[in-house]
Structure formats: structure tokens, C-alpha cells
């Protein structure tokens, strides 16, 4: 396989963008990405676009056709990819493999979701769970993660304060991100006192409903080296699936699909978590960030909560997690999230992360998860020094 690099990124603002349609969101992110990369649109040979459920959110399928058309990319090979909230990560992996194979040189990986368009978001998102044997019985997505939290608390003594620490930290990071939906700091008191969604999760334990799009452009590393910019290589890609229903997995205090995807990415790169400087982690709910930091091996099982409370995952902590603000503060347009994570890695590794810039990070990891843990992708990016 050829070595592959990310050579440009584009990201719309994240938020409730009532005036901007699904197709326009993608067109903006795509145009920004190609400008950033400095590559002409007719050089792009292929695109993979992550989107969870445009059919339910806005009544439109055949996304590769409509989105590329409106982005001015007519003619290229383009495919929409879906794996619930991991759609973006899955699109990135498919784009990576196409460049690695040698079939194409310039491949776009995009993601988009238009969630504020009148549809019932709770219903639409529940289609990422088992519709017949979970959602049918009244369980919501916050409800599934609440059951994970309950099990984690019972097994490890994780506390509501530790969950709140994740939200507080991610909002502190998001406040430095001009694209974030909620770029404002919040206090532990705000999180703990918020309206209840599904016990033990309150409103501030949950990521918001967001419109947004993100794109990155991939190319062979040899090409990237000619650009005179930092060269950001993809050195590991892991992808895994698991049973869709939470009740069909052994221990609801764990999300094993994350460890499996990470293990594959680490194996490819020949690294361990100790070689990674920072990570974007799928914090759809505060408990998700805690469990995922354990599954990734950043902390031992049960230590994710105490570590968050101790500031270990803060921007100046020993292992910064979600410098972008995460899904929690930046927003979570489900199909776009996996690509937005890659954008944050790329921004940090090229030194363009503005007020939230880490000091000379060398390797970042992005972990993007579908449903309650039915699918996961993990990617590791490294900047050449």
C-alpha cells in the first residue's frame, strides 16, 4: 500500500443553521477544503461522504450525486457511506484505502448531517440502535448511554462529578474553537443542575443536535511533500463492528468495539497509546468519553472518571482529549463528526489550531463510534518532522 497524507481541510460552522440546506453545507466545506489544499476540482477523482440518515432528516438519498453536483465536482466517482455516528470515520477509511491502493491520487473524504430541518431528531437517531428490540421498547440514545453510565458507576464507582468534569473540560476547549456550536465555558454546577434527560445523564452530559459538514483531501505522501506544508500522514486505520443492541454485548460498562478498532490501528502503525500525543474521542455523551479513554488504553478500566476529574485530559494535561471541544461543545452533526475529528488532528499537527493549539504535537488519534458501540473507527495521524 502507498503512504497517504491529508493535504487540506474544510469545515462549516457547526450549529442550528436553518438557512443552509444539506447540499449547501457540503458544498461550502468541500470548496473550503479544496482551497486549503490548493488542488483544482478536476483533479479530485473520487469522494466518500459520510452521512447517517439524510433520508429521515431531510428526505433525500442519492447523496453522492446531489452533493458532488452542488459542490461543482460533477463526474467524479463518489459514494455515500453510512455507519450511524461513525459514518465520517468510515468515509475517511474508504478514501484512505482508495489512495493507498493506487487507484486514485486525490480522494475527498467528507461528512455532513442536516439535523435541524423539522424532523424528530430523537426518532431519527434511534435508527442507529436496534429499532425492533431497543427503540420499540422506548429506549432512546441518551437512555442507552445512561445504562452504560449506570453500569460503569456500579462497577467502578464513577461519579456524576466525574461525568461533569468531561463536559466542563470540553466546553473550556470549545470556547477556543470559532466553529463550535456552543463555544462557552460552563461550570460543574451547571452540568449537575441541568434538566434530566435519562438518569444519570442530564442535558449537559449530552451532545447537541447540530447541522454541519466537514471535508479533508487525501493524496499520496510523495505529492504532499511537494507542497511545502507540514506533511500529515495516516499511519494507522482500524475499523470494527459489534452487535447493534447493547443487551447483546456482555458487559454494558464497556464498549469493546473501540478497543478492537484501536488494536487494529495500533497494529498497522506499530505503535501503542503511549506513542500518541492527543486524541479526539467520541464524546456523544460524557460517559462515552470516559469509557472510550479506557478502551483506547489511555487509562486503566475504571480510571477514566478519576482521570477526567484530575484534569489529565485537559489541554494542558498529560493526555489532551478533545481539544476541539469534542462533540459536546463543538457540536455533533452525526455524519460529519468523524471527519471533523480528522480536521482537528490536521489543524493541531500543522500548527493551525489557534487559541487551542498544543505544543508541537507529533501524533494524534481520532476515535469515531456508531450507535451505542455497534461500530467504531480509529485513525492515527503523524506529522513528518
Amino acid at each position: 500500500m502507498r503512504d497517504v497524507a491529508v493535504i487540506g481541510m474544510g469545515l462549516t460552522p457547526f450549529g442550528e443553521l436553518w438557512d443552509t440546506s444539506l447540499r449547501d453545507l457540503f458544498a461550502i466545506a468541500c470548496a473550503d477544503c479544496l482551497e486549503d489544499a490548493g488542488v483544482a476540482r478536476d483533479q479530485v477523482q473520487s469522494a466518500y461522504i459520510g452521512c447517517m440518515t439524510s433520508g429521515l432528516f431531510v428526505g433525500q438519498e442519492h447523496l453522492a450525486s446531489v452533493l458532488c453536483d452542488y459542490a461543482g465536482l460533477r463526474g467524479l466517482a463518489a459514494t455515500r457511506v453510512e455507519s450511524a455516528c461513525a459514518s465520517g470515520g468510515a468515509a475517511f477509511r474508504a478514501a484512505y484505502l482508495e489512495v493507498a491502493s493506487g487507484a486514485s491520487d486525490f480522494v475527498l473524504a467528507g461528512g455532513v448531517e442536516k439535523m435541524n430541518d423539522g424532523a424528530d431528531a430523537t426518532y431519527c437517531l434511534a435508527t442507529a440502535a436496534d429499532q425492533e428490540y431497543e427503540a420499540y421498547n422506548g429506549v432512546t440514545f441518551p437512555g442507552l448511554y445512561a445504562m452504560i453510565a449506570k453500569a460503569h458507576m456500579a462497577k467502578h464507582g464513577t461519579t456524576p462529578q466525574q461525568l461533569a468534569a468531561v463536559a466542563v473540560k470540553n466546553h473550556r476547549n470549545g470556547a477556543k474553537n470559532p466553529k463550535a456550536q456552543f463555544p462557552l465555558e460552563i461550570s460543574e454546577k451547571t452540568v449537575l443542575g441541568a434538566v434530566r434527560v435519562a438518569e444519570p445523564l442530564g442535558l449537559f452530559d449530552c451532545s447537541p443536535v447540530t447541522d454541519g459538514a466537514a471535508c479533508v483531501l487525501l493524496a499520496p505522501v510523495e505529492f504532499a511533500r511537494k507542497l511545502g506544508k507540514p506533511v500529515v500522514k495516516i499511519i494507522g486505520s482500524g475499523h470494527a463492528t459489534d452487535a447493534i443492541a447493547l443487551h447483546d454485548r456482555k458487559d454494558p460498562s464497556t464498549i469493546p468495539v473501540v478497543a478492537l478498532a484501536a488494536q487494529r490501528a495500533f497494529k498497522q502503525s506499530g505503535l501503542t497509546i503511549r506513542d500518541i500525543d492527543f486524541a479526539e474521542v467520541h464524546d456523544c455523551f460524557t460517559i462515552a468519553e470516559i469509557v472510550c479513554t479506557e478502551e483506547l488504553g489511555i487509562f486503566e478500566p475504571g480510571q477514566g472518571g478519576p482521570a477526567a476529574a484530575a484534569g489529565k485530559t485537559a489541554r494542558d494535561g498529560e493526555f489532551p482529549v478533545n481539544t476541539s471541544g469534542g462533540l459536546k461543545s463543538k457540536g455533533h452533526p452525526v455524519g460529519a463528526t468523524g471527519i471533523a475529528q480528522i480536521c482537528e488532528l490536521y489543524a493541531q499537527l500543522t500548527g493551525n489550531a489557534g487559541g487551542r493549539q498544543l505544543k508541537n504535537p507529533r501524533r494524534g488519534l481520532a476515535q469515531n463510534m456508531g450507535g451505542s458501540g455497534g461500530s467504531c473507527t480509529v485513525h492515527i495521524l503523524e506529522v513528518e518532522q
Binding site: 425492533e132 428490540y133 422506548g138 445504562m147 438518569e199 447493547l246
Partner: protein, 131 residues
């Protein structure tokens, strides 16, 4: 919920019919076409036991629109006596009576009635067994 899908799942929702792999004995609920354990493709129909324990649970305060009239309600994952797990709504118990380890039995209930043009959904819930 539209009716063809509803009717197809009735044996599971009304009678807890599961599929037992005739080769390895693994029980699948709902029944499957392929055994997740041994990949065999023949099954016999068995009914699930009705008693079990709560593995984890939550109180849902913000439900989807069609469950709005029942809020707050408790959802739980229940492990039945034979090890099979189900996601259920807890029937007839205030949230603070349900916790990990609570003993329950499966009962047949109306789940919700949905909008006027849809079928009324029935199925299983779980009820706390008085201690």
C-alpha cells in the same frame, strides 16, 4: 410502526418465541437465520423464561414523541434465567424501586398507541417482583 413489520415480530413480542440452535444449543432472541455462535442454520422454537434480573437501567425523562405520555419511565436490560437479555420498559413501578439486581418478571402490555394512522403497539414489559 407500520403493520407488515409489526405483524412479523408478533411471535416475539406476544409470546417471547426464541430460536434455539439445533447444533450448539445457543438461544437467540429474536430468532436468527444464522447461529451467532456456530454459524449453523437450523433452529427450533422455544419460549423464553419469564423471570430475570436487571443488569442496568435508566429513567427516561425525554422520550421520543410517541412515548411522551408515559414519561418518566424506566428502561432496563434484563437478564432472564437462561442468560438471554432483553431491553424492556418497566411496568407499574416508580423509578426508585428499580436498580441493578432487581428481580423482575416479563408481562404482556400495551407499549404505546402512536399516531392515529398507525397500529397500536403491544409487547413485553417487565414488572418488579415484590420482595
Amino acid at each position: 410502526m407500520i403493520s407488515p413489520r409489526y405483524h412479523r415480530e408478533k411471535p416475539q413480542r406476544y409470546r417471547l418465541e426464541a430460536g434455539k440452535c439445533t447444533k450448539c444449543g445457543e438461544i437467540h432472541f429474536p430468532p436468527r437465520k444464522v447461529c451467532r455462535k456456530c454459524f449453523a442454520r437450523e433452529f427450533e422454537t422455544v419460549e423464553l423464561p419469564r423471570r430475570g434480573k436487571v443488569v442496568t437501567c435508566t429513567t427516561v425523562w425525554i422520550p421520543p414523541a410517541e412515548f411522551d405520555d408515559q414519561k418518566p419511565y424506566v428502561n432496563a436490560i434484563v437478564e432472564l434465567e437462561n442468560g438471554v437479555r432483553l431491553t424492556v420498559m418497566i411496568s407499574e413501578a416508580p423509578p426508585d424501586e428499580v436498580d441493578i439486581g432487581t428481580e423482575v418478571e416479563i408481562v404482556f402490555r400495551r407499549l404505546q398507541h402512536g399516531p392515529a394512522w398507525e397500529v397500536i403497539r403491544y409487547g413485553y414489559k417487565a414488572r418488579v417482583i415484590a420482595g
